[in-house]
């Protein structure tokens, strides 16, 4: 019913889509996978009207269409569920649901709030969410917001004649496993009314949900496989163009850590509302992973170690020194480096170039009396570009223009080059393609080998298990269980989930 034929999209210097054919039938769930930069997001933007194709045709039920804006696409039944944070947090749930389509509730120029609330409840019922539609969105959990997103897109049902196409862009990235299952069953139910395009980096989920999977590489659709024939490693090979190592998480490189050198020690630390009574020790050469659902307190603990959040009670010791004044500066001086989840916001400074970003945390080392040694900075940057294989034309390239994986490498280089030996990784592989993920895993192992300690909040449970020496499971801000796992004796997925929920 919805079909793209030989669609091209060209940006200055980039041929982003090359003669892409893509179709989706009524009631179908189609997966879309590919590495970052393969053209997935461009394709989605063409589908929901944010971009216009430069060549080829877009047709619905055989009739050619051309969307100038997302709004026109919506009017044809095409809606997008964004990855996260696409609800406007200062508005109420119902306002978000009907944003841009309030007219139906306007009588004589006045919005009828009661009618809108009634209609919103109907939409929320579709996604089985029982909340007051007048709640301000900021007060919802991430999972609830994701469902509100879906409810919002489902308003297309009432608005549009004919069938819907709904794009789900990484809808599971902020959800716990149970929430994911809930979402999937919901999507399956909804296929009676809509078809779905499911985009995710989590291959297993894509295969679990989709009827067919499109595989993209370098702006082209390189393969289309029905679920029956789909195998994870085969698809991954297509995506990357080579075999994926069985030893994905570099377990063979995992060395035992040094139990005598404690780098970070938390002793009965509490921050009301975030976490309570947390004790842990991070040793040199250790990867300690914090596992839990969204809001279980993982990030808050990282931020406390980095000094961005001050606990109400308990002691934080870094290399034996008890922390008194909290603040990122003191942490950095003590050798702590933070790789935040919001890479583009907290990780790199867009608008600054590669070497400027790399020395941002350690300018003291590259200056005399406050005057920078640009030559030394550039030499450092060139060195690390080579060591980490950062893909950039030169050290003067604006970091905002690098790909996600290369941005992450710049952030890691920033800390490693400065000699930080306590590295806090918050979702370090989020949104990265397989190749870039492997690079990150390599770096984790190298850092451990150098005697650094790593506090990790992993993107997936598999990643947590694969990478870490120690896993601390959290639930509702409390420590539930501590697993120790050398290669071969690691806890199973089930073990973790059992304590998480």
């Amino acid at each position: 019913m919805y079909e793209l034929t030989k669609v091209d999209k060209v940006f200055p210097g980039v041929h982003a889509l090359k003669a892409v054919d893509f179709r989706i039938e009524r009631g179908e769930i189609v997966g879309l996978v590919g590495e970052n930069g393969a053209g997935k997001s461009t394709l989605m933007k063409v589908i929901y009207g944010a971009y216009q194709a430069d060549g080829g045709t877009v047709a619905i039920d055989g009739k050619p269409v051309r969307f100038q804006s997302p709004r026109q696409a919506m009017d044809h039944g095409i809606g997008m569920v964004f990855q996260e944070q696409s609800l406007i947090t200062n508005l109420t749930v119902m306002e978000n649901i009907f944003l841009g389509y309030e007219r139906q509730f306007v009588r004589f120029g006045v919005i009828d709030w009661t009618a809108m609330a009634r209609a919103a409840r109907q939409q929320l019922a579709k996604v089985k969410l029982d909340i007051d539609p007048a709640t301000v969105t900021a007060k919802l959990s991430f999972a609830q917001r994701q469902l509100v997103e879906l409810a919002k897109v489902l308003t297309l049902e009432e608005r549009v004649e004919g069938d819907l196409v709904i794009l789900l862009d990484e809808p599971t990235s902020v959800l716990s496993r149970t929430e994911v299952e809930l979402l999937f069953s919901l999507v399956r139910e909804l296929t009676s009314r809509a078809s779905f395009i499911f985009v995710s980096h989590r291959m297993d989920e894509v295969l679990e949900l989709s009827d067919r999977v499109y595989v993209m590489k370098d702006g082209e659709v390189v393969d289309m496989v029905p679920r029956a024939e789909a195998r994870v490693d085969a698809i991954q090979r297509k995506m990357v163009g080579r075999d994926i190592d069985k030893q994905y998480y570099r377990e063979q490189k995992q060395q035992p850590y040094d139990p005598d050198r404690v780098l970070v020690s938390l002793d009965r630390v509490s921050l009301p509302g975030r976490y309570s009574d947390i004790s842990l020790d991070l040793h040199a050469g250790e990867v300690l992973c914090l596992v839990g659902t969204e809001g279980a307190g993982r990030e808050a603990i990282l931020r406390t170690v980095f000094g961005l959040e001050k606990p109400d009670s308990g002691t934080v010791r870094i290399k034996g020194q008890a922390r008194r004044d909290f603040g990122a500066r003191a942490a950095v001086e003590a050798g702590v480096g933070y790789v935040p989840r919001e890479r583009k916001i907290e990780g790199i400074v867009g608008g600054m170039n590669v070497y400027e970003n790399m020395t941002l945390s350690q300018m003291g080392r590259y200056s005399t009396a406050g005057i920078l040694h640009l030559g030394k900075e550039r030499a450092l940057a060139r060195d690390w570009i080579r060591r980490l294989g950062i893909k950039t034309p030169d050290v003067f390239k604006d970091c905002g223009g690098l790909s996600g994986g290369n941005q992450q490498k710049v952030v890691l280089a920033k800390w490693r080059s400065g000699g930080s030996d306590i590295i806090l990784l918050d979702h370090p592989t989020r949104g990265l393609d397989i190749g870039a993920k492997e690079d990150v895993y390599d770096m984790v192992r190298e850092m451990c080998a150098d005697g650094a300690g790593i506090l990790l909040v992993a993107d997936t449970l598999e990643e947590a298990i694969g990478l870490s020496h120690t896993i601390l499971v959290l639930k509702d801000g409390e420590a539930r269980h501590l697993f120790r796992g050398a290669p071969g004796s690691k806890p199973s997925l089930f073990d973790l989930v059992h304590h998480m929920t």
Partner: protein, 321 residues
């Protein structure tokens, strides 16, 4: 969330509490401050500024800023005076037509502002700053520097006729304030302003025609500037190029003091009412207690800082620019 009143409630009412404290403060120093007649005087001096501030509130809710109000007010005041006199110079005759025409003039100025900002993709700070010059210049061109007196008793009744000790213009300002609140809370445009302020790219992705909302927001502000201009003319009976002077800093300060955030998305016309009253009470109170003239700017500055500090939710703000 322990005890009563809890933080959230306290924060919500903080600007009003600041206003009350200020009033008590001035009353303690000079009991005459606390009288109905003085409140009427404060109201008269606050009414034009309130209308302008309500206008700019809509812009600030979108996370933009408008610095063109001085020019817009001058142009509206002068156009009103010209049209009013041309139509006979009396509300009794055809002169009343000048009132709606002035509002249209305000909307047109807002439209131009919005178009320059949105279509030429110039940040509103710069676009409106430049258009402020254009507005003042236009008023100058129209008057050639002359001042125009409006003596029609029916129009001046806005100031001279009193109901329950307050001049009619206060009630008119009150009506427009209610209209502003109504637009803010019960119309699509009003809610869309909050949506744009809360997350413009998200609103766009949701299918909202953000450009249209922005332009409409600027037009709406323009209409309120026109109302402010009418009040200013009613108050002193003179329309001139200088009618708009001083509105820019007063109105934006008032909006911030009232607790509307400059980055958009929160606050509203009631906050602005309280903010304008705080600024007006300080202005009136300083003279009433007999503070020397040379100290007034400094003390106003200090009190404004204190007022903003007391009415800001310090936990919710991370970046202040």
């Amino acid at each position: 969330m322990t005890g009563f009143p809890n933080r959230e409630v306290l924060l919500r009412w903080a600007p009003l509490i600041v206003l009350l404290i200020l009033m008590l403060f001035f009353t303690a120093l000079e009991p005459r401050f606390f009288s109905v007649r003085n409140f009427a005087r404060i109201a008269i001096s606050a009414a034009p500024a309130l209308m302008v501030a309500v206008g700019v509130t809509f812009i600030i809710l979108m996370g933009s800023i408008d610095l063109s109000m001085e020019g817009a007010v001058s142009v509206c005041a002068v156009s009103f005076a010209f049209v009013f006199l041309w139509l006979g110079g009396s509300l009794g005759g055809w002169g009343w037509l000048a009132l709606p025409l002035t509002l249209v003039a305000g909307a047109v100025l807002g439209l131009v502002n919005g178009l320059v900002h949105v279509r030429l993709r110039i940040p509103s700070f710069m676009a409106s700053l430049a258009l402020g010059f254009v507005g003042t210049g236009l008023a100058m061109l129209m008057t050639g520097g002359d001042r125009i007196r409006i003596e029609d008793p029916a129009f001046r009744a806005l100031l001279t006729t009193r109901w329950l000790d307050f001049p009619v213009m206060i009630y008119v300002a009150g009506l427009f304030l209610l209209l502003g609140w109504f637009i803010q809370s019960r119309t699509t445009l009003g809610r869309n302003l909050y949506a744009v302020g809360g997350g413009e790219d998200l609103a766009h992705g949701s299918g909202l025609n953000v450009a249209r909302v922005r332009i409409m927001g600027f037009m709406l502000a323009g209409v309120f500037y026109a109302v402010g201009a009418l009040m200013a003319v009613a108050r002193i009976g003179i329309a001139e190029t200088a009618t708009g002077n001083g509105f820019m800093f007063t109105s934006i300060t008032a909006v911030v003091v009232g607790g509307t955030a400059l980055w958009g998305g929160t606050g509203g016309v009631w906050n602005t009412l309280v903010g304008v009253l705080i600024v007006s009470v300080i202005g009136n109170g300083m003279v009433v207690i007999g503070l020397p003239g040379y100290l007034q700017d400094g003390i106003l500055g200090l009190l404004v800082i204190i007022a903003v500090v007391l009415s800001t939710d310090r936990r919710s703000v991370s970046i202040v620019k």
